[in-house]
C-alpha cells in the first residue's frame, strides 16, 4: 500500500532524522528525505510511503520522472504521485518489481559513484537516460507518466487548463472568445 500523505513540516515533528536517513538529491530542487519506508519532502510537507519498492528507489524514480518530463513550475509531490503506481504494481507483480529495482540499480551504475541522483545537472542525468531510453524499464516509467502526471487534476491549473466545464455552463459567458491581442 502506497500513500501520499500530507505531513507536518519536519521541524514541527519530532526532531532528528539521523544522518543515515538522509538521502541527498542532486544539486537541483528541494531535499527529499528517506525515513524508514517513506520518501519525505520536509520543505513541502508531504510523504510517500512505499511497501514493495525501496524508498531510495522511489526517490530515484521521482527524480527520473522530473528529468523525463521537466516542468520547473510543478512541485515534486505530483511527480511522486505519478510514479507511485510502480510501487503498487511491484507489490502485485514480482516481474515489475524486478524491472524497476534492476532498472534503477542499472541507472545508478551508469551514473558513477554517487549514483543517478548524485549527478548535479539535469543534462548529466538526461545523458544517462538517453543511453537507456529504449529499455523496457525506461519505457515503463515514461509511459506511466503520460497519464500518471498529466492526468492529475491538481496539475491542470499549473498549465492553465481548466478541465470540466459543463457544470459551469461551458464558456459561453466565461471567455470562449475573450482574446484581445489579435
Amino acid at each position: 500500500m502506497v500513500t501520499i500523505y500530507e505531513s507536518k513540516p519536519v521541524h514541527e515533528k519530532k526532531p532528528g532524522l539521523s544522518r543515515r536517513e538522509l538521502l541527498k538529491r542532486g544539486g537541483v530542487g528541494a531535499l527529499l528525505v528517506i525515513s524508514g519506508s517513506a520518501v519525505i519532502s520536509p520543505e513541502h510537507a508531504w510523504g510517500l510511503e512505499t511497501s514493495a519498492l525501496k524508498p531510495e528507489t522511489m526517490a530515484t524514480l521521482i527524480q527520473m520522472a522530473r528529468d523525463i518530463y521537466p516542468h520547473d513550475q510543478v512541485p515534486d509531490k505530483y511527480y511522486a504521485i505519478a510514479v507511485k503506481a510502480h510501487d503498487e504494481q511491484a507489490g502485485k507483480d514480482l516481474a515489475h518489481k524486478d524491472l524497476i529495482e534492476k532498472g534503477v540499480a542499472d541507472l545508478d551504475l551508469k551514473s558513477g559513484k554517487d549514483g543517478y541522483t548524485g549527478l548535479g545537472w539535469e543534462e548529466q542525468r538526461v545523458a544517462v537516460l538517453r543511453d537507456i531510453q529504449d529499455t523496457p524499464f525506461f519505457q515503463a516509467v515514461r509511459g506511466g507518466l503520460v497519464v500518471g502526471l498529466y492526468n492529475q487534476k491538481q496539475v491542470w491549473p499549473i498549465f492553465g487548463y481548466e478541465g470540466e466545464s459543463y457544470s459551469k455552463g461551458g464558456y459561453m459567458a466565461r471567455g470562449f472568445d475573450d482574446i484581445e491581442w489579435l
Partner: protein, 523 residues
C-alpha cells in the same frame, strides 16, 4: 416506444452498427414502416452521462477491443493496438465526431478520371456523381441542422478560431469561417444550442451536436418499427444455399451467441469492423468472405491524410474553450497538382485538453523540447489537417492469423503505408499551418503527427463493375442482393472532407432504394 423483435422474425432488416450510417438508415427505414433491428456492439449511454474528462470519457466510449497494426504509419509504432479512435456505444462515432459537415467536391467522385493513374494508388471513380447525391446532401444538412445551410446561422468564433482567422487573412486565404457544423447555433429539432463547453470529442452533454444517439434513434424508436439492441457484438452473417443472407450471429451482453434472423442485412460497423465481419463470415460457398468475389473486401483502407499544427504565442489563447472544431479554411481543398500532389486538404481548428495533448503531441517524446511546449498549453492555438489520401490495395484490414477476441473472433489487423502523395500533402499542410500561425506572431510551431484514425474509409468500396469493388452505387453487395454496406467503408475514395455528412446522405439514399426493392419484392 421500443419494438422488441423476435430472434426468429425473418422479416426484419438487421443493421450492424448504430452510428452515422446505421443509425440513420435505421430511422429512415422505420419512418417508412419497415421493421428494423440494430445490433450495436457497445452500451447505451445517454448524452447526460457523457463525461467532461478525456481519459474517463475514453474509457466510457472508445472502441478499445484489441486490434493490431502494421505498416510504416507512425500510429503503428506509437499506438500499436489502437489504430483508430472511434466509439463503441449506441450512436457510434457520432458521439465523438466534431460535427464538421462538408459536401464532397465534384471531382472527388471522379478521382481516376481527374488525377489519372497514380503509381501505387488504386484510384477509381465513384459509380455516382455529385449531382446525383446533391438532393440527399440537402436532406442530410436539414436533418443534421448544419450551420450556414437552411438559414441556420453560423456558430460564433472562439479564441482558437480567431487566431486561425487572423492568420488566414494574413496568408490571403479567402474561405475561412466557423464552418458548416452539425452543432446547433440556436435550439433546433429538440436539441439545445451550443454552450461553448469544449469536450466535443467526449460527447456533447448539451445534445447540441447532432448524434444518432439522441436524434435519429429515438425518432425511429417512436415509430415502433426500430429496436436498438446494445451490447450485441456481431460475429458472423449466415446465408442459405441460394447465397442470400439469412441472419446475423451475435454475442449478447453475457457472451451468449444468438442469431437474429433477417430479410436484409446492412453492415455499418465502421471501416475496420465491417470488413472484419464480412471476412469472418467466410463459408464453403464464399471461402474468401461474404461479398468478396472481387477480393476487395478489407482493401483500400483510407484514413485521410492528417496531422495537426499547434502554434505557441507570447499571449494567452485558451484554445480549449468552446467548440473544438468550429473554424475551417477551405482554400487548400481544391485539386491543384502544381502544389506537388493531387487532391486537397481542409484546415480545421482543433484542440485537445492537457491530458490528451501530453499523449498525442509527440508520442514517445520526452525532455525539455516536449515539456516546454506543454508549459505553454494556454498560449497554444491548434488546427487539424484533413486531406484526401490515396487508396492502396496494400492498405487493408485482415483477420489476425492467431489472435482472437473474447468471443473467439479473429482480431483485425490494420495495415497502412503512406503513399508519397499523402506525405507530400501533409508536408505542404504543415508548412501552410506553421506559416499561418507565424503570420500572427507564433514564437514556435509544432507539426504534430497523425492521431489514431477517426476517419476510417474505403474497405468495402463502391464500384460500377463487380470486379473493382464490393458494393454497387446503392451500397448493395455486388454478390449478394440482400446484403448492404451502410458506413464509410463503401467510399470509393475519401475526398478531403470529413466523411459523416456523406455517410448520412448515402444512408438516406440507400433507405429509399431498400424500401423500393422491398415493395417490388426484389429483395
Amino acid at each position: 416506444m421500443t419494438a422488441p423483435f423476435d430472434l426468429k422474425n425473418d422479416g426484419v432488416v438487421v443493421i450492424i452498427g448504430s452510428g452515422a450510417g446505421g443509425g440513420t438508415l435505421g430511422n429512415e427505414l422505420a419512418q417508412k414502416g419497415i421493421d428494423v433491428v440494430i445490433l450495436e456492439a457497445g452500451a447505451r449511454h445517454e448524452y447526460q452521462d457523457f463525461i467532461n474528462d478525456e481519459w474517463d470519457s475514453f474509457a466510457q466510449l472508445a472502441w478499445t477491443d484489441k486490434r493490431t497494426t502494421s505498416g510504416d504509419w507512425r500510429v503503428a509504432k506509437d499506438f500499436p493496438n489502437l489504430p483508430a479512435w472511434i466509439v463503441k456505444a449506441v450512436g457510434g462515432s457520432t458521439a465523438h465526431w466534431a460535427g464538421a459537415s462538408l459536401r464532397f467536391q465534384e471531382h472527388e467522385f471522379k478521382t481516376l478520371s481527374t488525377y489519372g493513374k497514380l503509381e501505387g494508388a488504386n484510384l477509381l471513380d465513384w459509380p455516382i456523381t455529385l449531382a446525383e447525391l446533391e438532393p440527399y446532401y440537402a436532406k442530410a444538412e436539414d436533418r443534421l441542422g448544419v450551420t450556414l445551410t437552411n438559414n441556420i446561422p453560423g456558430l460564433p468564433g472562439n479564441n482558437n478560431f480567431k487566431v486561425m482567422k487572423a492568420g488566414a487573412d494574413k496568408l490571403g486565404y479567402k474561405e475561412c469561417h466557423t464552418g458548416r457544423m452539425a452543432i446547433n447555433s440556436e435550439p433546433r429539432d429538440d436539441r439545445n444550442a451550443c454552450q461553448q463547453t469544449g469536450f466535443c470529442f467526449q460527447g456533447c452533454k448539451w445534445g447540441a451536436k447532432w448524434s444518432t444517439l439522441y436524434s435519429e434513434i429515438p425518432k425511429g424508436e417512436a415509430t415502433g418499427h426500430l429496436e436498438v439492441r446494445p451490447n450485441a457484438m456481431a460475429i458472423n452473417i449466415n446465408h442459405d444455399a441460394s447465397g442470400k443472407v439469412t441472419g446475423v450471429v451475435y454475442a449478447d451482453k453475457d457472451g451468449r451467441l444468438r442469431e437474429q434472423k433477417a430479410r436484409i442485412v446492412a453492415v455499418a460497423g465502421n471501416s475496420i469492423e465491417s470488413p472484419r465481419l464480412l471476412l469472418n463470415s467466410a463459408s464453403s460457398q464464399f471461402p474468401d468472405g461474404l461479398a468478396n468475389s472481387s477480393g476487395q473486401v478489407g482493401k483500400n483502407y483510407m484514413r485521410h491524410t492528417t496531422g495537426s499544427v499547434y502554434g505557441i504565442f507570447d499571449k494567452p489563447v485558451h484554445m480549449y474553450r468552446g467548440t473544438t472544431m468550429a473554424g475551417i479554411i477551405r482554400d487548400e481543398a481544391r485539386n491543384d497538382p502544381s502544389r506537388g500532389f493531387v487532391g486537397g486538404y481542409e484546415l480545421e481548428t482543433l484542440s485537445l485538453g492537457l491530458p490528451f495533448m501530453a499523449a498525442f503531441l509527440n508520442p514517445g517524446g520526452w525532455g525539455r523540447s516536449f515539456t516546454t511546449a506543454l508549459d505553454h498549453y494556454d498560449h497554444m492555438a491548434g488546427m487539424w489537417i484533413v486531406g484526401e489520401d490515396m487508396p492502396r490495395e496494400e492498405n487493408r484490414i485482415t483477420l489476425h492469423a492467431d489472435m482472437k477476441d473474447e468471443h473467439g473472433m479473429p482480431v483485425a489487423d490494420v495495415h497502412f503505408d503512406d503513399h508519397s502523395n499523402d506525405t507530400a500533402m501533409r508536408n505542404h499542410a504543415y508548412k501552410q499551418g506553421s506559416a499561418l500561425y507565424e503570420a500572427v506572431g507564433a514564437t514556435r510551431t509544432l507539426p504534430t503527427p497523425p492521431y489514431p484514425s477517426t476517419h476510417n474509409l474505403g474497405t468495402n468500396r463502391m464500384s460500377e463493375k463487380a470486379a473493382d469493388g464490393v458494393v454497387n452505387k446503392h451500397g448493395q453487395a455486388h454478390d449478394i442482393k440482400n446484403l448492404f454496406v451502410s458506413d464509410g467503408s463503401q467510399f470509393t475514395t475519401g475526398g478531403a472532407e470529413n466523411p459523416t455528412l456523406t455517410i448520412v446522405s448515402l444512408a438516406i439514399r440507400q433507405a429509399e432504394y431498400i424500401a423500393g426493392q422491398m415493395s417490388a419484392k426484389s429483395i
